[in-house]
Amino acid sequence: MRRAKKIKINHNSEFDLDLAPLLAVMVKLVPVLLISSAFVQMMVIETELPQVVSEAIQKQENDPIQKNITLDVDPTQGFTIDISQNNQSTNENIPLKNGLLDFEELHKHMVAIKKLHPEIFKLDLNPDAKIAYKDIVKITDELRQAHDPNIKFPVFDSKKGKVTETPFMFPQIIFANMMEGTHNGKTTSL
């Protein structure tokens, strides 16, 4: 009986992978991506708020006990925080640090205020006419939410019927002095 012929397979053989089609695809993809790439990322100061926070803002607007927080910014005096409730107000001043606005201290103060008044989400901002736009943007950054991810504020979720937590402090900032000198009551908010 004839023995079956053994086919010799060289397990150590090498072969060249044809990369030409892959390269062709890449050559076409690179110009497409180059055109649509954004090398300068631009964002907007706008906060998409969770529903519970939006509801809390609505609740604050309808609240008969008028509780209001106002932040005045002056290039010579620093920050002045005014908390008014039932026609009574308290003031806190954050002086300049080395002749500049102390943003770090402002954030610490605002976190402390938010802990005391977790139901307030709206803040009136009154910057002085000389305050630079970059400083206004920095202030809004300090006010919007706590930098420390471990710091959370209680907010009541009416749908679940229990208190949840949010990192937002004062997401609704209103330029309250925008209409100064006019008789119109309109304001611009972020």
Binding site: V44, I131, I136
Partner: protein
């Protein structure tokens, strides 16, 4: 005497050779990953104005469709059209209302036209504007733009910033 033959190397005229493209593919792969990272998925394209230095912010919200206004140290533009001149970080007296120094007449006229001609557009209905402003401009100048825009029926202001701390 035998004549000496000139040495001719043995080269095949019609030979082909395989180009090693592995390193080139590597390079393209890295480039592709980098470009995919910077790929813009935003539905609104904002062209940065020349000479305008935007402030940086920690905000990470992408811009949405809105009326675009840019305020640099030299001009106020609506889209790409210049509507007022800015000099020494303020508007010229001729562009401001006589009895209301916060009111920029040409801006109000243009925004009013937009509001009347495109009432069906969502961003016009809601009164949304996107403002690109130079970071060194004082609030007094910005306030005039905000004030005029809100008077023209555009009270929802979105400030454009660069990503950063």
């Amino acid at each position: 005497m035998a004549r000496r033959h000139r040495f001719e190397p043995n080269i095949k005229k019609n030979s082909t050779f395989a180009l090693n493209i592995t390193s080139m593919t590597d390079m393209f792969t890295i480039l592709l990953v980098f470009l995919l990272q910077t790929y813009s998925t935003s539905d609104v394209q904002i062209i940065p104005e020349k000479g305008l230095r935007l402030p940086t912010s920690a905000s990470l919200s992408s811009p949405t469709e809105a009326t675009k206004i840019s305020l640099s140290t030299s001009a106020l533009k609506l889209g790409q059209t210049q509507i007022a001149v800015v000099k020494n970080a303020d508007f010229l007296a001729q562009d401001l209302e006589e009895h209301d120094s916060n009111f920029i007449k040409p801006l109000f006229d243009e925004l009013d036209k937009i509001a009347k001609n495109n009432p069906e557009k969502d961003h016009v209905k809601e009164g949304r504007i996107i403002l690109q402003a130079d970071k060194e401009l004082p609030y007094a100048t910005l306030r005039k733009v905000m004030y005029t825009a809100s008077m023209a029926g555009f009270p929802q202001l979105k400030l454009i910033t660069l990503v950063g701390e």
